[in-house]
Each structure stands twice: as C-alpha cells, then as structure tokens.
Amino acid sequence: MSEFLQHLINMLVLGGTYALLGIGLTLIFGIMNVVNFTHGVLYTFGAYIMFIVVQQLGLNFFLALPVAVLAGWLLGAAIELTLLRPLRGSDIDTTMLVMIGAWIAMQSGTLWIWGGVAKSVATPFPEAPLVLGPVSVSWLRLFVLAAAAMLILVTYLLINKTSLGRAMRATFQDHDTASLMGVNVDMIYTSTFAIGSSLAAAAGALLGPVYVIFPQMGDLAAVKAFAIVILGGLGNITGAVIGGFILALAEELGAGYVSSGYRDAMGFLIIIAVLIFRPTGLFARAERVG
C-alpha cells in the first residue's frame, strides 16, 4: 500500500514535469504545425543557462529562472527568423527537416562548448525530503510542480483569453485570412515560436537542477513532449496537461508493477491504445466533411 502511495506521489510529480514539457510544444507543434525537432535542444539550452548563471556566475537560483526563459525566447526568435521565415509556405516536411538539421548542429554545438560531462546545479532547497507518513517527496520537485502549474496557467490564459492568443490560433488555421483581419502574421510566427521556445527553456531550467545537465538530455524529453501533445490533442493545453499525467501514470505503474525494462514501453503502448480508440487524441477538435 505504501508502495502504491509512493508511486502515486511520483506520478503526480512526474506528471507535472511532463505537462511542463508538453505545453511549449503544444504551441509550436500543435498550433503552429512545425514538427519542432529543436524543442529538446531548447530544453537543454535552458538547463545550461541555469548552469551558467548559478554555477559559473554564482548568481541566485531564482534569478536564473527568468534569465533562462528570456534566453530561450531570444534563441527561439532567432531560429524562427533565420531558419523558418525563409521557408514560409514550404511544406511541413521541409521545415521539419530544417529543424532536424538545426537539432543535430545545435546539439553538437552544445557538446563542443560544454563537453559531454554532465553538470549539475545547486539549488536552495533542503536536501532532506518532505516526509508524509509512508511517502516522501523532494522540496525541489514540489517547487517544480508549482512552477509548472503556474506556467501552464499563464500559457492557457495567453492562448485562450487574449487577443494575441486568438491571433495566433487564427494565423495558423488560415494565415491569408488572418492577414486580411489585420494580423501581422510575420510577427505572430516569430512570437509564437519564441514563446514556445521560452517554455521549453523554462522546462529545462526547472528540470535541469532536478536531474543532471548534458548535451543529449533533451532528446528523451522531446520524444515525451511529442507524445504528450499528441495524447492531449494538437494545440490543446488542457489536453497536454492531462496527457502528461496519463503518461506519468502509465510509466510509474508499468515500472512498479509490470517490469522496469518495459517502463517506457508502457507509455508507448498507452499512446498506441489511446490513438486506436480516439484517433485524434483524447480531446479531439470537432471536424466535419462536406
């Protein structure tokens, strides 16, 4: 029983992590329809910014977070301006491949600059966990959970309740018509990508200290992020959050009660199963023919 409770707590913490990974990608992949292979690199980038600011410059942990978010925003904007804008209107596979190129180049760049040895970041949280009866959880991860919840909420409001968010959705549904409505679509493209990137960097900045920081850390994170976005339905933030928790639950119970070798397999099997039942994710958009 206590083992089960511990698994549930783990699921909660891990699910928050996954949701955080998912939301940045929901913008870029779900709304903007760019198969963003650089998502993982931006995640890694956010983590390295934390490392630089906290470990190398010796600045405050909480100060480093907004710095990482801002850096992610800038890098995202730069990627959009240099790599995506010239290819506007090419098909989705072409932009995907450009993003693959950027992923390969940037990841190797990270390796070149910082080397392959993993880094870690000191945090101001106590090392002793919070113990609640038979279960315990680390303070750092509780903080991450809270920060994730906040970022998710902010993103949700941005997309669904602001005029910018509406313009973003409109642009990616029909950019010609959006421009006829007076939307500066170039600006929307750049800012959507930048915001999505800054969320990826935020995820890296929050999770880098939880785990360790190394050049390939983003790869697995990105795969999971894609899975989460798909589970929840493209562009659906609430869906991404729920998708994150489902994936966490599948993995946690898979490892706990099936076999740890098949831990990730459980996650993937859940995805396959969900999509067979609901081919457009858990929260499908309404569509019609004719």
Partner: protein, 360 residues
C-alpha cells in the same frame, strides 16, 4: 617516420563524455612514451577516430584505421556493442585490438584471437568481490542496473556469485540508458525486504539515483559496481545524498600509494591535472592510459610494428598498469582464444563528502 596506433572511441553521441576521457588518457600515455624516446626508436602517433557511439560507424572506423591509415594495432571501442561491431573487422584484417572499457563477457568468449582486454568483465569483478562479501554481512540484495550488456551481465554474474555464498537475491530492476527518472524503480526497491542494493550504471545515472533515493527516503546500503563511478563527480553533484554509498572500483586515484604502481599513478594524475582536465575524469581516462601503454609495450616486445608480431607479443607482455598487472590470460574457445588481464578491484566508501578506502 612514426608508429601509428588506431584509437576508435565515441567522441560524439551518447558516450561522448567517456570516450573523450579515454582519449585524453591515451594522449598522456603517448606523450609520455614519446618524451622517453618512443618505441623502437620511433615516435608513436595516435590516429584518433570518432565512432559516434554507433556500432555501424565503429566498424567503419576500424576499417578506415586499418586500411587507409594502415595502423598495425587498435585500441577501442569503449562500449560493448561498439567493440562487438568492430570484431569481425579484426578477423578480416588480422589486426589486434586492445579493449580498454567494454565489459561484455561475449567479447572474450566468442573466439576472436585478436582481442586483448584490460578491463574486467563483470564475472571478474564478481569474483574479486567475493572476498569482500563476507565482511559486509550481506543477507539479501536487490539490483538496479542499466539495461545493457554491462548492467545485465553484472546482475547475472553477481547474482550467481552471491547465491553460491548463500545470499538471497531480491528484485532485479533495470533502467534505460539515458533515463532520468528512476523514482518508480527506487520506490519499488524501497518497499522490498532487502538491505542492500547493487547499482550498476554510468556516473550520471548514479548521481540521479542517489539524489532520487534520498528524496524517496530510501535507506538501504548502496554498492555500485563497474568502475565508472567517478566518485568525485558523484560527490560534487549528489552532495549529501552520496554519503554512505560504497563503490567497487578498479582504480584509486585518491590513494596513489595504495595502487599497484604508485609512480605511474602519481605521474598520470599530475599530468591529468596539468592539462586542466577535471579530476573526476581520472577513473575513466586511466584505461586509455593503460591501453596505450599496453600497446606500446607489445610493439616494443614485437620488435616491429606489424599486426601479427604485435598480436604475438601481446601474449608475452607484463606491465604494471595503474590498476594491477597487465598480463593476458587465455579466454574463450580453444585455438582461438582472446586475451584477458585481471585488474585489481577495490571497495571504497563515500563519507562526509570524502572518499575512504574500505579496509576489509
């Protein structure tokens, strides 16, 4: 005019960090040898190629080193699947290779007479651990191992050894290479009735495991194996969470005097620091250092830089490596045996952020 030695290591991809360490160790050895006049009156030259942590590339790189660069001998290829991929090429071109890191039992048992391994396969490590086990008073152990040949081999060989000793085996949990969250496995181990966990994986995952185990309030004795633990990195990154953990290791850079070859150890560590590398890298890089010294010794002994002669000479060398005598013994099917040397194995413990040698 130089003597070329091929070095086939992962410098990019998943194993980049470790491969780079090994290469740095190898360079120290080459420079040291050349400073002393080289071998057979010629300087040695390392031809270093990146196998991209990818078996296909590892085989291609071996092919390139042998056929284009015409190296008479190789060192490599870090991971077991990389080394295994290279092995058919060694047969094809009849060129020997010194294996410095790979631990898969298969490497020396499939009948490839061009393989000479200086790293301990898990069976050797288990055998060395046997003597220590009694003193630790183990009763029941769980395993948490990386899901590759190394982790799985360790779990298998250690279980066998412990069963013989009357110790019962509990859970055998695995984790994927690259996995970052092991909470699920650790939660399961937390609720089991064993008192000790044997953990086998690379240093990054070890750090994560210690941190996550502490966060979960897992209070069992943790012993790591494999010699890649890099305690300094663990101390630096896991902090207090690393206290009380024990590690089976093959090299003791903290206690040069206790190593089989204190002089070489001191030289190596001094050189390592001089070159500005992180001290933590020592426990990986010394294998590259030993590997090249092994190769050089064999060339010297062979009297010429030719594959067949070097291969023959490898059977006859006896040098003092940083972790024990490097003497190859026959392993594998008769007539096509590979060489395997027997390094020393030590148990250390981390206490208050310091490495202590466990006197047993």
């Amino acid at each position: 005019q130089t003597i070329k030695i091929g070095v086939n290591e992962p410098l990019t991809g998943a194993f980049a960090a470790s491969g780079t360490y090994v290469v740095n160790g190898a360079k120290i050895a080459a420079d040291e040898i050349n400073a002393k006049g080289g071998v057979l009156g010629k300087k040695i030259e390392l031809v270093i190629e990146d196998n991209k942590s990818n078996p296909t590339e590892a085989a291609a790189v071996a092919e390139k080193l042998i056929t284009s660069d015409k190296v008479p001998v190789l060192m490599g290829a870090w991971g077991s699947s990389l080394t295994l991929a290279v092995m058919p090429k060694l047969m094809e071109y009849e060129t020997p290779m010194v294996v410095e890191t790979s631990s898969s039992g298969k490497i020396t048992t499939t009948g490839n007479p061009f393989i000479f391994r200086i790293s301990p396969p898990s069976a050797v490590e288990a055998a060395a651990f046997k003597n220590i086990v009694d003193k630790l008073a183990l009763k029941k152990v769980d395993f948490l191992v990386i899901n590759n040949d190394w982790g799985r081999g360790t779990a298998e060989d250690f279980s066998k050894m412990m069963k013989d000793k009357g110790i019962s085996i509990g859970l055998v949990e695995t984790m994927d290479q690259g996995a970052q969250d092991m909470s699920a496995q650790l939660s399961k181990i937390k609720s089991s009735d064993s008192e000790t966990v044997i953990v086998t994986t690379a240093v990054d995952q070890l750090t994560l495991i210690f941190k996550q185990a502490a966060a979960l309030g897992l209070k069992k004795r943790i012993i790591t194996t494999g010699g890649s633990q890099n305690p300094d990195q663990i101390i630096a990154q896991a902090g207090a969470a690393a206290n009380g953990t024990m590690h089976l290791t093959t090299f003791l850079p903290w206690f040069p005097d206790k190593t089989p070859n204190p002089e070489a150890t001191n030289y190596f560590i001094a050189e390592w620091k001089k070159r500005g590398f992180e001290f933590a890298g020592c426990t990986e890089s010394f294998r590259g250092y030993d590997g090249i010294r092994t190769v050089a010794a064999a060339i010297e002994k062979a009297g010429k830089a030719e594959p067949a002669a070097i291969k023959a000479a490898l059977w006859n060398i006896n040098i003092k490596g940083l972790n024990g005598d490097i003497v190859f013994r026959k392993s594998g099917p008769e007539g096509k045996e590979s060489g395997q040397s027997q390094p020393n194995v030590y148990l250390i413990e981390i206490n208050d952020g310091k490495v202590e040698m466990k006197t047993l």
